[in-house]
Symmetry: C2
Subunit: 346 residues, 2 copies
DNA sequence: TTGAAAGCGTTACCAA
DNA sequence: TTGGTAACGCTTTCAA
């Protein structure tokens, strides 16, 4: 009547073994395909596995053996930003194909959230961690060091990573964009992005951008929308706010293509011609760019690939292969036609 | 020289206990804040925890005690579709706020992928599962039944769910859109979406849509782009293909707003006026709609809320509260101005 | 080819 | 307020 097994009605290895009339060990070996058993035994055990609907308890096996867990913790700032959704997709697809599972952490760009998440996820004994960004709370860094597991920092390339790093140099990417716009003749340039408590890749990018623009004799007016994900509408109203408080802006550089598109919509809706009256530049070469009537001036970064490469580095490390712990996946400026060469006319 | 502890250099509870000169049990109680110890003991133990940098091993505690795991498995078709990214964000934020972790599974809309993922994730003894969609492989269903853990099926409302269900009735939503377009006077209507091996919510929607249109004396020409995520560019080229092979289409209904936007860009780029020459209707009321020059005719579904509600149902169930196991979160037609009332002129 | 015993880090249960 | 012991499901190690 009452099942002897305590609370759960889960089928355990010993029940399978008992049903098959062999020891736990033999059943265990069969299930892992370790070898060291007869074909007859194997067939018998597998039959019982099917019959009883046995599912291994990985909690127990990882815990018991020295086995490595198949969990990989992945921290992502937010999914409202399509860039990170793509990165996550790249990571999870690759990881999943190799039998690993993603434990997600949405950190909202704050080191505190990240620290808490790291503490929790480490307690699950993950095989490794993939973290977006390079700045972490001091206590997080300490925990990461102690954990002694593979760690990949992605997005903002870190020349002295905790362990491994993939991404691009955002300062350089920002600088290149700044130089390009200055080269087009723009001097009075604005930046519209979102604002966060912490320095992140966008901040670094803006620093590089500003350096290039100022170095070229121009100046950058910043407008940061508070606490919003970098999406279409913040681009729209950020532009509205910017233009209400500033005059003579010749060109706007946005945190990403979504914001750039939103901004461009604001401009055209208000009778401005792009790039005739104002130049627009985005960042990321996102899917939306593929259907815009004018090619958006932007910076291509292979997001999906970034995720895949991060996962590959993790997997290689986990399987003991040699790994380069630093990979620049590069970026490419897309001139587009939403900015024009101002020099040409004056 | 050599640390006695086997392979890992991880600090265990007994090491903390030993350092503090108490038993494992006392240390354990302190860490869980169970009560049943003196303040002096507590302080001593906590001091050693800090000093040694002890992190609990949740694998062990979930395994040992009757404790419930804090993992919740979440399956999502793909993240290229902004709708699902929003749903996932809603789920993870809510779950995270209550100390639970999301184990992600990207199923690519295939029941096989889902089945494999379910098998794996169940082996980690999750507290519960949140699954997108209502159709699952037979063996998956069997495993889910045996697992006897809370399960929330989301997106396509299931009147006889495995356990719990949140979402909307996609047939009805499709029907409403069909009725609306017919009511505007359109008769020769096309549908552009992506094609998958399995029936999914979009399929159901299309069925409802078709029924309404045909019931109103119209007809639906379908064009499905193979194996693409429902994004901007497939909407663009899907429209191109459709219009190349069909004539007299008066209005196009898309799988979602992203595709609708892509399609609209194709139309305007090719000299068609929207809605003058052709009507456009999307689905989802996605962020992109907020910056479009014309309000896009669409169907609003609260995606983020959907995710939050799913997580809330899961959390309520896990904490033993009474839960309604079926929740229709509703949808709302957005008339917009990318379709027009054709009746008016004829 | 097979099995018995010990142990992984923690908690439940009972005793002191 | 504390501690000892057993147990969770599995694997490692060693012996048969």
């Amino acid at each position: 009547m009452a099942d002897k097994s305590s609370k759960t009605n889960k089928v355990s290895l010993s029940q399978v073994a008992k049903a098959a009339g062999v020891s736990k060990m033999t059943a265990s070996r069969v299930l892992r395909g370790d070898g060291g058993y007869s074909e007859k035994t194997r067939a018998l055990v597998m039959q019982k596995v099917d019959k009883l609907g046995y599912l291994p308890n990985r909690l127990a096996s990882v815990f018991a053996g020295d086995q490595i867990s198949t969990f990989v913790g992945v921290s992502i700032p937010d999914l409202g930003n399509e860039i990170f959704a793509q990165v996550l997709e790249g990571i999870d697809r690759k990881l999943g194909a190799f039998g690993h599972q993603t434990v997600l952490g949405l950190t909202q760009h704050t080191p505190e959230e990240e620290e808490n998440w790291i503490r929790t996820v480490l307690s699950w004994q993950p095989a490794g961690l993939i973290l977006t960004g390079r700045s972490h709370a001091p206590r997080a860094i300490e925990m990461l060091r102690n954990a002694a597991i593979p760690i990949v920092e992605i997005w903002d390339l870190n020349s002295s990573p905790l362990d491994m790093s993939v991404g691009i140099n955002h300062f350089d990417a920002g600088f290149d964009m700044g130089r390009y716009l200055v080269g087009c003749g723009y001097r009075n340039i604005a930046y519209v992005g979102t604002s966060h408590d912490t320095a992140n890749a966008a901040t670094t990018r803006l620093a590089g951008f500003t350096k290039a623009v100022e170095g070229g004799g121009g100046r950058v007016t910043r407008h940061l929308c508070l606490h919003d994900t970098a999406a279409y509408y913040p681009g729209f109203y950020g532009t509205e706010q910017l233009l209400a408080s500033t005059t003579d802006v010749e060109c706007i550089f946005y945190q990403n293509d979504a914001m750039a598109f939103g901004g461009m919509q604001y401009c055209t809706a208000n009778g401005m011609d792009v790039p005739g009256d104002i130049g627009i530049a985005g960042w990321g070469n996102l899917p939306i760019a593929s259907v815009m009537p004018k090619r958006l001036t932007s910076m291509h970064v292979p997001h999906l690939k970034l995720g895949q490469v991060a996962a590959e580095m993790m997997l290689a490390r986990l399987s003991g292969e040699p790994v380069v712990n630093y990979r620049d996946i590069g970026f490419k400026l897309i001139p587009g036609s939403t900015v024009k060469n101002v020099m040409a006319r004056g």
